[in-house]
C-alpha cells in the first residue's frame, strides 16, 4: 500500500537575515488511516515542516510524495489541484469567509473541485455538517457562530472533498478546554470510524499523547517517530 505521505531527506534553510537551517534530513512516512500528531517545542520547525508537506511552501530541498506522487517540479496550478483534491486543512484560526453562509463555506472547495453537481455538493456538505453536529447552523453566517462551532465548520470544510489526509496546524490552539476536547473527539472519530488519515501539529502534550502515533521534533530534526 502506498503511504499517504512520504518525506525524503527534506531540508529547509531561512536566509534572512543569516542562513539558518530550520529542517534537517526529515524522513518519515504516514500510512493510510493513521492519526499522527507532530509535536515539539515552539520554534523547532514543526509548522514549517507542515507547510512544506501541505505543498504551500515550495522552497525546500528533498522529496515529498503524496499518495506516491512526487510534488517536486509541479506547477503552482498543479499543486493547487493537489491541495484541493487530496488535502484538507484545519488551522488555528478558522479562516471562514464571512461573506458566505456556513454551508457555502463548506461547499467552496467542492465547487472548485467540480467533480459533483451542485446539488450533490450541497448534500455532501450537509452530511459533513451533520457528522460534526452543526447542521442546524448551515444557513447562518460564520460570524454568528461561537469559536468552537467555527472550528467545526472549518473541519467540515476540510472534509468536503474526502481528502487523502487532513493537516491541522494547532487546530485546538484557540479553543478552551471543553472545545479542545470536543475537536479531539471529532478527530478521533474521523480516524477510527472513517479511517481518515490525520496529521496534526500541536504543542498540547495531552492532545499528542492520545493520538495513535507521535512524531517528535527538536531543533529541526525528528527525534522520535
Amino acid at each position: 500500500m502506498t503511504p499517504s505521505l512520504e518525506a525524503k531527506l527534506i531540508q529547509k534553510e531561512f536566509h534572512d537575515p543569516v542562513t539558518i537551517q530550520v529542517l534537517k534530513d526529515i524522513n518519515f512516512k504516514i500510512e493510510k488511516g493513521e492519526f499522527v500528531s507532530l509535536t515539539g517545542k515552539s520554534g523547532c520547525g514543526k509548522s514549517t515542516l507542515l507547510y512544506i508537506l501541505s505543498t504551500m511552501d515550495t522552497d525546500y530541498t528533498g522529496d515529498l510524495y503524496i499518495d506516491g506522487v512526487a510534488m517536486k517540479n509541479k506547477t503552482e496550478q498543479e499543486l493547487a489541484k493537489v491541495r484541493n483534491e487530496k488535502i484538507g486543512f484545519v488551522f488555528q484560526f478558522h479562516y471562514l469567509l464571512n461573506e458566505f453562509s456556513v454551508l457555502k463555506n463548506v461547499m467552496l472547495p467542492g465547487l472548485k473541485l467540480n467533480k459533483f453537481s451542485l446539488q450533490e455538493i450541497e448534500y455532501r456538505a450537509m452530511e459533513k455538517l451533520r457528522i460534526l453536529g452543526i447542521e442546524k447552523e448551515a444557513l447562518k453566517l460564520p460570524n454568528q457562530l461561537s469559536g468552537g462551532q467555527k472550528q467545526r465548520v472549518a473541519i467540515a470544510r476540510s472534509l468536503i472533498n474526502d481528502p487523502l489526509i487532513i493537516m491541522g496546524d494547532e487546530p485546538t490552539g484557540n479553543l478552551d478546554k471543553k472545545n479542545s476536547l470536543n475537536v479531539f473527539e471529532i478527530f478521533k472519530e474521523l480516524a477510527h470510524e472513517f479511517k481518515q488519515t490525520l496529521l496534526i501539529v500541536t504543542h498540547d502534550q495531552e492532545f499528542a499523547k492520545n493520538c495513535d502515533r507521535i512524531i517528535e521534533m527538536e531543533d529541526g530534526r525528528i527525534i522520535s517517530t
Partner: protein, 419 residues
C-alpha cells in the same frame, strides 16, 4: 474551473463592500456620461458647422477660369538656349465664363456611377436698385429641383416657397440681408441692373438665409432660364457644373480626372474648404482627450478600491489558495470584480450620457445666424457609444489587472502563519 464559481465569489466580495463598489461604479458612470455628452455635443456642433458650409458646397465644381494663356505664341518660336523674351502686361484674350459643351458634359456626368447628382448653375453680377442707391449683388441661376436634392436648398428658404421660382416668371428669392436693406416683402417687385446696363424687374417669391451674413447680403437665386434671360444669353450658357459624389473622399482624384477629360477647371471640396476639416478633427481630438482623462481618473479609483479590498481580504485569499484555488483563479476573481464595476458603471454611463445629450438637445438655442437651428445641436452617433463602452471596459480591466496580479501572488503561508 467553473466560471460560475468565480462570479459567485466576486459577487460576494463586491456585495460585502457595496458602498466602495458603488463609489467606484459611480466614478465610471460619471466619466462615461461626460464622455458621451461631450462627444455628442462637440460633434453635434461639428456636424452643424460642417453642414453650414460642406453640405452646400459641391464636392467638385467645374468652371472656366478667365486667365491669360500660359503659352504665349512667341514661346513657340523661341530657342530657349540662346534667347529670352519679356512680355509685359499680358491680358486674357476672349475669355468666356460659360462652359464649352456644357450640355454634353452634364449628360456624360449623369452616367458616371460615382456621381450622386449634378446641378448646373450660372451666376450673374447685378446691382439691386434701391431708390437712388445701387447695391452689389450676385444672382445665381439654379435648377430648383437639383439644388433641393443635392444641397437642401429648401431648408435655407425661410419665407415663401422655393418651387415658385419655376412657376412664377421673372421671380427671385432674395438673400435675407439684401431684402432687409431693400425693405421688401414677398410679392414686391424689385429692380436690378445687369452688368450690361439692362434694367429688369423681378418679383420676390421668397427669402433665403444661409447663416453666413456676407452671403445673405449679396446672393440671390433665380431659375436658370430667368438668369439666362437677364444676361441675354442662349439656353446652353452655364458657368458652373456642381457635382455631388457618393463618396466625398474621392473628390480630389476625380476633380483632376474631370479637369483633364473635359479640359476645364475643377476644384474639389477638400481643397476649397481645408480649414473646416482641421477644425472638426481638433475639436474631436479635444473631446476624446477630456473623455479619456476622466476615465483614467475613474480607473485610479477602481485601482484604489481593489487594492484596499485585497488588503482586507488577505485571509480569504489565503484560505482560498490553501483549499485549492490557484493564483490564476484568484486573479480571475479580482479581474471579474473590476470588470463588473466597469460594465455596470459603463452601462449606466451610456444610459445617462444618452439622457443628458437628449436634455441638451431640448435646450432652446436661437441665433440669427442659424435660422434652421432651434435647439443645441447634438450628435447621437452610435460610434461614440461603442467607443465609450470599450473604453470603460478597457480602463477598468487595466485598473483591476495590477491589484489582481498582486492578489494572485499572495503567499498563503505568510498570512496563515502570521496569525
Amino acid at each position: 474551473m467553473k466560471i460560475n464559481l468565480v462570479f459567485d465569489i466576486a459577487k460576494s466580495l463586491l456585495i460585502a463592500r457595496w458602498k466602495q463598489t458603488l463609489v467606484a461604479a459611480v466614478g465610471v458612470t460619471f466619466s462615461i456620461t461626460m464622455f458621451i455628452t461631450l462627444l455628442g455635443f462637440m460633434n453635434g456642433l461639428n456636424e452643424l458647422l460642417d453642414g453650414l458650409i460642406l453640405n452646400r458646397t459641391p464636392h467638385i465644381r467645374l468652371f472656366n477660369e478667365i486667365k491669360p494663356s500660359e503659352n504665349q505664341p512667341i514661346n513657340k518660336n523661341l530657342d530657349t538656349t540662346k534667347e529670352y523674351n519679356f512680355i509685359q502686361s499680358i491680358k486674357p484674350n476672349g475669355g468666356r465664363l460659360s462652359i464649352y459643351n456644357a450640355i454634353p458634359i452634364i449628360n456624360k456626368l449623369k452616367q458616371d456611377k460615382l456621381v450622386l447628382g449634378i446641378s448646373p448653375k450660372l451666376s450673374a453680377q447685378v446691382f439691386y436698385n434701391v431708390g437712388e442707391t445701387d447695391l452689389n449683388g450676385v444672382i445665381n441661376g439654379i435648377n430648383v429641383q437639383d439644388e433641393q436634392k443635392l444641397f437642401s436648398f429648401d431648408t435655407y428658404v425661410i419665407a415663401g416657397n422655393c418651387n415658385d421660382l419655376n412657376i412664377v416668371p421673372n421671380s427671385i428669392i432674395l438673400g435675407k440681408g439684401a431684402a432687409d436693406k431693400m425693405l421688401t416683402s414677398i410679392g414686391d417687385i424689385i429692380q436690378v441692373t445687369t452688368s450690361k446696363g439692362e434694367r429688369v424687374k423681378l418679383k420676390v417669391v421668397g427669402f433665403f438665409q444661409s447663416g453666413i451674413q456676407d452671403i445673405d447680403k449679396i446672393q440671390s437665386y433665380c431659375s436658370i432660364e430667368t438668369t439666362q434671360k437677364l444676361l441675354g444669353v442662349t439656353s446652353n450658357y452655364i458657368t458652373d457644373i456642381q457635382i455631388k459624389l457618393f463618396e466625398l473622399n474621392k473628390a480630389p482624384k476625380l476633380a483632376k480626372y474631370y479637369s483633364k477629360l473635359f479640359n476645364i477647371e475643377a476644384v474639389d471640396i477638400q481643397t476649397a474648404n481645408a480649414q473646416f476639416e482641421t477644425g472638426s478633427s481638433i475639436r474631436t481630438l479635444i473631446s476624446y482627450a477630456v473623455g479619456i482623462t476622466l476615465l483614467i481618473v475613474a480607473g485610479f479609483g477602481i485601482y484604489n478600491i481593489l487594492n484596499m479590498m485585497i488588503y482586507e481580504k488577505m485571509d480569504s485569499i489565503a484560505i482560498l489558495k490553501a483549499t485549492g484555488f490557484s493564483g490564476k483563479d484568484v486573479k480571475n476573481i479580482f479581474i471579474t470584480i473590476a470588470l463588473s464595476i466597469g460594465i455596470f458603471g459603463g452601462f449606466f454611463g451610456l444610459v445617462f450620457g444618452f439622457g443628458l445629450t437628449s436634455i441638451i438637445d431640448q435646450i432652446p438655442f436661437n441665433t440669427a445666424a442659424l435660422p434652421t437651428i432651434k435647439t443645441y445641436p447634438v450628435s447621437y452617433n452610435p460610434f461614440y457609444y461603442v467607443i465609450g463602452a470599450l473604453f470603460s471596459i478597457a480602463t477598468t480591466y487595466l485598473a483591476g489587472l495590477f491589484p489582481a496580479k498582486k492578489a494572485s501572488k499572495i503567499d498563503p503561508v505568510i498570512i496563515i502563519r502570521g496569525k
